[in-house]
Amino acid sequence: MTAAVTLTNVSKRYRRGKENIEVLHGLNLAVESGEFLALMGPSGSGKTTVLNLIGGLDHPDAGEVTVAGDRLDNLRSGQLTKWRARHVGFIFQFYNLMPMLSAERNVELPLLLTRLSKSERKKNVRVALDVVGLSDRAAHKPSELSGGQQQRVAIARAIVADPTILLCDEPTGDLDRHTAEEILGILKLLNERQGKTVIMVTHDPKAAEYASRRVQVDKGQLSDETGTA
């Protein structure tokens, strides 16, 4: 297996008012291609920062970030934007769908950045909605969908452009247990059947059980690692 993600000696500081907060210091992490990794840890431990660095949303202050064969720490902002569109699908805790757009229009958003024709985009959107079992809700707006359905739309949006990696930030944090399990089941399916590399930040040990490997982030470093694979 090849490494989909490698973080080497990564440090990251944030400035909050007059304070300089070191969120990550000398963090090392490697994620194999096709792996389902759960990043766990207490609030403020740096989990989301790790996810942002892997997703090319942020730059490290020091260290190397290599994802899908590209050194992200060397890419400029504009290059990172293009890279994200090609390689990463994001799933957020609060779904972050466009409230005025229907489910299918929401799913179509990443495809607007491609050269696909309207009919090709429509076809891909239908496939993505099929995967998450929401074809019959394509024309509904987010406000007409339940939390679980909205998160499924968000997953469809994340996979529609066929990214290399899925990054999930507390994807079940806003859902009840039953719905959370449905969502985690879909993520597991995408990982096992389609070979997507999934990196999921979660507080929930039950959600983390769906991952093939779990790592603890604490005080800006990896502190513990367990695997089921």
């Binding site: 949303l57 504009g78 934007t81 090609r86 958003l109 990443p110 607007l112």
Partner: protein, 382 residues
């Protein structure tokens, strides 16, 4: 680009009430913009079509002038035509349908070449004592046609002690400078003069043509000098200078209209800018998500500007269309005035240019804010 339209449209309808109110405000502002531009263009048109080679000799102190003044004016070097005029206030059927009747003769048309009347019609007018040539506007308004007998009521009493004057329409006249707007009712001076009781043999104005417009001031002085010591001193000036001083008497119309337009644009800028700023502020997380998905900084900047442009352009389209439709109605409300309001296509294009300018100016600050948006902070709600 078309694929982004649903996204732009959805952004606009995020808060429908706010969008509708802003849209209506911009549309109303552009109605005002259109009408003010129309007044500005109309007054410019009045001055543009006014002639420096046409002079008016009027009584200096109000007392009417003897008709014999015309012969002396005609002898002044440079004068090519002189027509006497007597104006009579009348109305047709109802006092609300007021109109002025001009008593003159065929020389009137030599001083006003922009009025289209044939030699045959002139001949008929000359030989029909009660004949009248009416403007197309009046003919259309009252449904008159050649051969109609038109009774008018006037304050001027006839020899029989009546206030009713009857005219036979012999021609319908068009003004090539103001198509469709010619509203004069021209009758024979002889008829009016013979029938009236007072002011016999008098004129209230002489209309002149001169051969060299650049000599207008000199000829005017020479004419006024002729009658300086008479019982009816005169005041002669060109149509152009008379209209210019008339327009100035109203005030600096151009300054007034431009001030109103300026105020309207400033208001629009603030209004649209505020709407766009508010709209963008509320959607910061949504723009952050778009950037996360791979929309570039320039892409989201373009989306915000496109929203602003669509809002302003559609509202301007509605506003300018309403203004364009309202202008003929406004003009028709003042049939006795020359074309004082006009909205050429150039003014509509200027309106669109202004709408785009307002859209860019008001959308730029929020668009730049979105462009510079830090995705990590925005997603974290900071």
């Amino acid at each position: 680009m078309a694929k982004y339209i649903p996204l732009v449209w959805a952004g606009l309808w995020r808060k429908p009430a706010r969008t509708i109110f802003t849209f209506c405000s911009i549309a109303v502002a552009f109605v005002l913009f259109g009408i003010m531009s129309g007044v500005d263009a109309g007054f410019a048109h009045i001055l543009e079509v006014s002639r420096a080679d046409r002079l008016f000799t009027d009584p200096r102190f109000g007392a009417p002038m003897p008709i014999s003044f015309g012969e002396r004016i005609a002898r002044v070097p440079g004068v090519t035509a002189v027509a006497p005029r007597w104006g009579m206030v009348t109305y047709y059927r109802d006092p609300k349908n007021g109109m002025g009747v001009i008593g003159t003769d065929e020389r009137f048309y030599a001083t006003r070449p922009e009025l289209s009347i044939s030699k045959q019609q002139l001949e008929t007018l000359r030989h029909t004592r009660t004949g009248a040539a009416v403007g197309v506007f009046l003919a259309k308004k009252y449904g008159w046609k050649v051969g109609d007998k038109v009774p008018l009521q006037s304050n001027t009493v006839t020899r029989e002690g009546s206030r009713a004057w009857t005219f036979d329409i012999v021609a319908i006249v068009e003004d090539v400078d103001n198509p469709g707007l010619e509203g004069r009712f021209v009758a024979n001076y002889e008829y009016l003069d013979e029938e009236r009781v007072a002011n016999k043999g008098m004129a209230d104005r002489f209309i002149l043509r001169i051969d060299q417009p650049n000599r207008a001031a000199q000829i005017s002085r020479e004419i006024d000098k002729l009658f300086a010591n008479s019982a009816s001193p005169t005041r002669t000036q060109s149509e152009k200078s008379q209209r210019e001083s008339g327009v100035q008497a109203i005030g600096d119309v151009s300054f007034f209209t431009k001030s109103v337009i300026g105020a309207v644009l400033f208001m629009l800028l603030v209004l649209t800018g505020n709407t766009m700023m508010q709209s963008v502020r509320e959607r910061i997380p949504e723009f952050a998500v778009l950037k996360t998905l791979g929309f570039s900084d320039k892409g989201v900047l373009g989306l915000v500007l496109a929203e602003s442009v669509v809002l302003c352009a559609l509202a301007a389209l509605l506003g300018l269309t309403v203004a364009k439709a309202a202008i003929p109605l406004l003009q028709a409300s003042f049939p006795d005035l020359p074309k004082f309001i006009d909205m050429p296509w150039a003014a509509i294009l200027t309106g669109f240019g202004v709408a785009l300018l307002v859209a860019f100016a008001s959308g730029l600050v929020p668009a730049l804010r979105v462009k510079r948006l830090n995705v990590v902070d925005a997603l974290a709600g900071r």
